[in-house]
């Protein structure tokens, strides 16, 4: 049966056929003779590391960029796609990795902006409701995007695409910001779309979801196609090897290190949210000892940002004793004085918070490293030392860039993340607080970051990781706690932690002990 379908598909022209696409950027060949064919109704994965050229390729398909050479065939006809609006007219729609929504506008206005000749807003609201019912994507057209959660925002983007009845839907890393539950309902929508004949080009480096969702996978490396396979018949490890081009081993915590003295202590910390829609935190208590990695799991938006601001010193605590670093009261100290005590900090947001996009890598290295790396001499910057330091970061963490003079904003997300983590790690901090260490980073780089974190802990640094990625936390942490609605659960030994219970805590169901034990038991029973 399946073979017959395969035969039939070969006779029909591919929905989209790329042949010999090349694109040169200053300093790198982003796409090198790329061939790709997408059949009608298939979910096709485009896999690759950061900087492999996936984003460039889809931008060419969507008309944002022009290829230097190569041909594009759409339903067998040669075409040239000059602009996104032309791509939309042909039936190509795209959901961007960084949402292309307008925050101060309503859902209906945002959707109207994605349509070439939108109907008036009232009729549009009715159509949004109809599409929502068909695909299970409920939206309130009158709400302002600013007030929506990340999952809801993505729904807006998808509905905007679906309103155009697309025949090719491109999704650029759609699940990087979603909770597991949101991702699962997204997959349902995508499968329904594919069954109706829409082709889906799915870009990701989450191997597990590609294996469950996609019919075919094309792997890119350094601008070229290196393999095409059926991901359902490959192991995650094989896919990762294709992507990276070499074998790699996952770092993992060796159980049972000796715990040293407490280096970071948080006692009864409560704080109001700084941002407009942030979550306040209530009575947070934990300790991180020398050589230990403590993980704080939880779905984004449960007080992580407030906790991180309190720890970094961006927001001062009510009393100095709320936070102690190396036994000294630090709650009333600003970020610079906390760094002097030995704290290093990697924020969640890479551009604008972790790094200044318009400044060079060397300057960005200086920004947090100037004291611990001795980059100043009587108040003036020692440029050669600063460049050396940046160079060491680039080399130690294999940051792909155009040299230490290139702008931070010109790096791909994963490479910038490696740079920022490297900048903090090389300062040999006594306490490291890191948010989402491998967000948007491919498997090879993630393994490298994990290894570096474990090495650092091995040298006696106390590490606190705040992340949504439970797999990662379970893999490298010694103890784990869950942040939910601004409250922190008790800390559990990771080796003995019950996944079902952590999942319930993350979902906010961990408050009353009795329920948890029951529900946790069911979860375990269901899993076996």
């Amino acid at each position: 049966m399946a073979e017959q379908d395969g035969m039939a598909e070969q006779d029909r022209p591919a929905r989209l056929q790329l042949s010999g696409i090349s694109k040169q950027f200053p300093g790198c060949l982003a796409n090198d003779q790329v061939d790709l064919a997408l059949a009608p109704g298939e979910i096709h994965a485009l896999l690759g590391e950061n900087g492999a050229g996936k984003s460039t390729l889809v931008k060419i398909i969507y008309g944002v960029l022009r290829a230097d050479s190569g041909e594009i065939h759409w339903d067998g006809q040669p075409v040239s796609i000059a602009s996104p609006s032309q791509a939309r007219r042909m039936g190509i729609a795209m959901v961007f990795q960084h949402f292309s929504l307008f925050e101060s506008m309503t859902v209906a206005e945002n959707i109207a902006l994605g349509l070439d000749h939108g109907p008036d807003l009232d009729r549009l609201a009715a159509q949004v409701g109809e599409v929502g019912r068909r695909y299970g994507l409920t939206l309130e057209p009158e709400r302002v995007v600013h007030d929506l959660s990340v999952g809801e925002r993505q729904r807006v983007e998808i509905v905007r695409c679906l309103m155009q009845n697309p025949r090719l839907l491109i999704m650029d890393e759609p699940t990087s910001v979603l909770t597991p539950g949101e991702a699962e309902s997204l997959f349902k929508t995508l499968r329904q779309l594919a069954d109706e004949g829409c082709t889906i080009l799915y870009i990701s480096h989450k191997l597990q979801e590609i294996r469950t969702l996609c019919d075919r996978a094309t792997v890119m490396r350094a601008g070229r196609i290196v393999a095409t396979c059926d991901p359902r018949h490959e192991t995650a490890h094989d896919l990762a090897r294709l992507m990276i081009g070499e074998d790699f081993s996952r770092a993992s915590k060796t159980a049972g290190g000796t715990r040293g003295a407490a280096r970071l202590q948080v006692r009864g910390l409560s704080m109001a949210a700084a941002a407009m829609h942030g979550t306040p935190i209530t009575h947070i208590e934990f300790e991180v000892a020398a050589g230990e990695i403590l993980a704080i799991a939880g779905v984004a938006g449960n007080g992580q940002n407030t906790l991180l601001a309190a720890l970094s010193g961006e927001q001062l605590c009510a009393s100095a004793g709320d936070i102690r670093i190396e036994g000294q009261d630090a709650g009333d100290l600003g970020p610079r004085r906390r760094r002097r005590l030995g704290l290093a900090f990697v924020p969640e947001e890479r551009l604008g918070h972790g790094a200044v996009p318009e400044m060079s890598l060397a300057d960005n290295a200086l920004l947090t490293g100037y004291e611990r790396q001795d980059l100043l001499s009587r108040g003036s910057i020692m440029f050669s030392r600063t460049r050396d330091y940046a160079q060491r970061i680039v080399q130690s963490f294999q940051v792909v860039s155009g040299g230490v003079g290139s702008h931070a904003g010109s790096l791909s997300g994963g490479n910038l993340q490696k740079f920022i983590i490297g900048r903090e790690l090389l300062q040999k901090p006594k306490v490291l607080v890191v948010a989402h260490p491998t967000w948007g980073v491919d498997a090879g780089a993630a393994a490298a970051i994990h290894t570096a974190l474990l090495d650092l802990a091995g040298q006696g640094t106390a590490i606190l990781i705040v992340s949504q990625d439970l797999d990662e936390l379970l893999q490298i942490s010694d103890r784990i706690a869950v942040l939910s609605d601004g409250r922190l659960s008790e800390c559990m030994l990771t080796a003995e932690a019950d996944i079902g219970r952590i999942g319930l805590l993350m979902g906010g169901h961990g408050r009353s002990e009795g329920d948890v034990n029951d529900a946790g038991g069911e979860r375990r029973a269901a899993q076996t």
């Binding site: 008309g63 292309s100 101060s104 506008m105 902006l113 600013h146």
Partner: protein, 306 residues
Amino acid sequence: MEVLAAVLITVVGAATPLLFAAVGELVVEKSGVLNLGVEGMMVLGAVGAFAVTLTTGSATIGILAGAAAGAAMALVFALLTLTLLANQVASGLALTIFGIGASALIGRSFVGMPVDRLPQLDLPGLSGLAIVGPLLFGHDALVYLSILSIPATIWFLERSRAGLVLRSIGENHQAAHALGHPVIMVRYLALLFGGAMAGLGGAYLSLAYTPMWAENMTAGRGWIALALVVFATWRPGRLLLGAYLFGGITVAQLHVQGFGFAIPAQFLSMLPYLATIAALVAISADGTRARLNAPASLGRIFHPET
């Protein structure tokens, strides 16, 4: 009573040039461009309108020339900032300095020459009414145009598709570009509109408010218009309020000075600025709303290729 009516009419005169320039700048800023050259476009509009009216004898052609002069200045600014990607703040300041200098040069031979004040629109039956007549129906065409520009701008920004696209470009130009909206073209058009409106404000000054040309006769009104846009949190309705409040206090303090109160004149001259700022700050105290109204891409340079 008639004195009061006369005072109120001068209030309208003081408010109208501000309103023109501020509405134009509001649309420009809503598209994400910060043009600090309002003062320069306004003063060139004033001299252009005056000179053309005097030489052709037609106030209509003069007004159009004023708008065209402002738009021409805006075109220079657009070329610099949108095509050549120059810094908007520096280019805007240069535009103002250039406009003041160029207008003085052009207007040298026109200093002290008289021109007929713009005629009042004569509405049969209405203009003749006591008090209400001159107050509501006794103005020239530009006054009505300036007031009508407010509902027109509200309709354009809130109800029309073109206005929606313009706001989206001011909000997030990268996203608008990715959706295929013509960022650069929309900003060119917005700037031309802003320049023409500033030119009309200038034309009103030299043809109606004080029908003559004097060097630097805008006297900082372009800067007030810029401030009004910010303090009105980019909302046209509040702009109307702010412009008339400013005009009202400007006129009131002149009368107070006339009565010879023992308050130094300098303090009275400050009053319109202080009162306008205080009033607009008070009504936009809700910081959240203000932030949502502010165009997020304001003043940022747009590189088409990310």
